[in-house]
């Protein structure tokens, strides 16, 4: 389809003649842009607008300016706990997934018996649907009928095992454990792939030069996988920050609000509490923080690639 002459002139006037040839491309990708804009920009825009409204489902929203954000930051007794839970959950889970994934990758990078078998089977937690993982751990951690407490009782470790999901601290630990169990295979397989791409000659040369195993790890392996680790940390942080399924199935955000993070709290407020506008404010308030985190990491990732 020929590009209208006037459009060509307008664009070239703005960008310079060397951009003329891209105007045809713009027309070809325009449908995709329109679809993405409607699937992304419209919901985001609606959420931002909704967060400035007092809106309950089924009724038109009433504009209240910053009312929702002010209530969230000054009156909501659960909000401080939700913030703490979110950062604790995301930070501890990601750090431990990195460490565990790295350790597993190191082990599986060596020629050990059953290497191929373990490389495959260690992926199973990652393959199981999150809903199933949540139900499984909910059962395992159940005080009255769970497998963990059954094992504790049978081995005589404790007479009355704890209520894992009823104590604030233990419940947080339980959901973090479930998240790590499910997520570390992704770190393992990605870091392992990066390790496999490091040239063996580097290790051989280092060994000849007298480098110890620790020195080879510190000066060859870690720098060799660092860019991949940063990418995986970035992705996992975003996913963990927005983790809904596992938490909702395991604890529903409870006991009380001790395992609520932003996304589960927003869900409870909107669909159980009928406060759509307020829930949108909750879900959006963390956006600048996630964006800042991404902007901090991206230069590091790009810098490493260069």
């Amino acid at each position: 389809m020929p590009v209208p002459h006037t459009w060509k002139l307008k664009l070239s006037a703005f960008y310079g003649a060397r951009y003329e040839q891209s105007t045809a491309g713009i027309f070809y990708i325009a449908p995709l842009i329109i679809v993405l804009a409607s699937l992304l920009l419209y919901p985001i825009g609606y959420s931002i607008l909704g967060s400035f409204q007092s809106k309950i489902i089924g009724s038109p929203g009433k504009f209240i300016g910053l009312g929702n954000y002010i209530e969230l930051l000054t009156k909501d007794q659960a909000f401080a706990e939700v913030c703490f839970n979110t950062f604790l959950y995301a930070t501890v889970s990601v750090i431990l997934k990195v460490l565990l994934g790295f350790a597993a990758a190191l082990l599986l990078n060596e020629r050990v018996v059953g290497q191929r078998f373990f490389r495959g089977w260690i992926m199973i937690p990652w393959l199981i649907p999150t809903l199933v993982v949540g139900l499984m751990f909910r059962w395992m951690f159940d005080q009255t009928g769970g497998f963990l407490n059954f094992a504790i009782q049978e081995t005589g470790l404790m007479k009355v095992p704890p209520a894992w999901l009823a104590d604030k601290v233990l419940a947080r630990g339980a959901v973090i454990f479930a998240n790590i169990w499910r997520g570390f295979p992704f770190f393992m397989i990605t870091i392992l792939a990066a390790m496999q791409s490091i040239s063996r000659e580097l290790y051989e040369a280092a060994e000849i030069d007298g480098a110890s195993a620790g020195q080879r790890l510190r000066f060859i392996t870690i720098p060799g996988v660092s860019s991949v680790v940063l990418v995986v940390i970035l992705l996992s942080s975003i996913w963990t920050f927005n983790d809904f399924e596992l938490l909702w199935v395991m604890t529903g955000g409870g006991p009380s609000y001790s395992t609520h993070i932003f996304v589960t709290y927003a869900y409870q407020l909107s669909f159980l509490g009928s406060r759509f506008g307020y829930a949108m404010a909750v879900s959006l308030i963390a956006t600048p923080l996630i964006t800042a985190f991404i902007l901090l990491l991206i230069p590091r990732i790009l810098g490493d690639e260069q």
Partner: protein, 429 residues
Amino acid sequence: MRISSFKKMCLLFLFVLAASLSVTAQTARPKMRMWVDHPFLVKATEGLLKSYVLEWAIGKGVDIEYSQNSDKIMYPRIDAAIESKTLPDVMLINISWLPKLQRAKLVQDVTDIAKELNGNMGGFTKGAIAAVMTPDSKYNAIPFLGSSEMAYVRKDLLDAKGLAIPDTWEDTVKAARAINNPPTVWGWGHQVVEFDGERHNHAMILSYGGAIFSKDGQSITLDSPQTRQAINLIKDAYTEGLLPKDVVTWDSAGNNNAYQSGKAGFVENTGSIAVWLKANDPTLFNNSVFKLFPAGPSGRFIQGDVWVLFVPNTTKYPDMAKDLIRNISSKDNQEELMTAMGGFRVPVYIDLTKLPLWQDRSLKPLADSAPFVYYPGFPGPVTALALEEFKQTIVSQMMAHVLVDKWTVDRAIAEAVATLKRIQVSLNN
């Protein structure tokens, strides 16, 4: 003039299109949808209700899409449908949805069909009518299923200690203390959160002489010495270890699982546990006593519940929707469904409370509970605020703050009252 081949093709295409459209128009069948937001304990009963609906649809030449799921799945689905005004033609929902549907102006007046059905099977129970009738005596939904609760007691454990069956909350706690032997058995499997817990908390507050709402339904009266008495009874029992600590995380099946696994000496629940015990654990069934819900110093109160058939005013087929309701609410269908449910739900029609199944010792307390049953808002009317409070389980959250967050009772009550006032303001706006 010769017509070109291309023009001939176009004319042929248009002719075929017109012909097929006219055939389609002649053979178009009404397409209806029915959603069921209700858990069916016995899978067969879900199939039974579905069979009534499909049979009706076949007879009427209607294509009907039937969808059933539990509340956790249906809540966001129904909310989305309310927001987008795309509700199905008929819904079986809990009465707690009615205020939201009224606010969204989606309610259809079904007084005609309600009055017709109220003339059947002895008419609706008083509570069922109160749940669906508007202040100007119109019906905004049709009662279909009810629920009541009773107490389950491990008689074998009490006999071993030489104890009588308790009837009051305080005596229940004393007996629970005597048989408490965790982790083998906890004395009291009392649900404090989720909808079951909300009903229990309400009932206990009332039985101590307190109330969440005033008699005119306009004021919030939760903050009272009687409320504190009720909360402290649960708090002390929890601290003492008479309740499993994870009662604060139980879902609606928590107390069921506790009793059915033999881990709880006393629980309060609908007939669901009795139905399960009969089918799966005759030993535990025989070791159990089924009795009226515990009483307090100010009497015995049991919070009932009602599931209703609702027709939104967005339906294209209001008359067909009402006909469907008429069909599935017929005497034969109601009797069959009630019997198949085995006591999991109680009838909303007076005559059905005389069915033989209610004479069974495990279900008779449910039939006998009628004089003690009340609905959200009591001692006032069933208001939008009362239903919204129940749906959001405000009193359960108050209990969770006391038991988990170790808030003082005063602070927890103040927070609950503030939340109720906020809901009241939003409902009035």
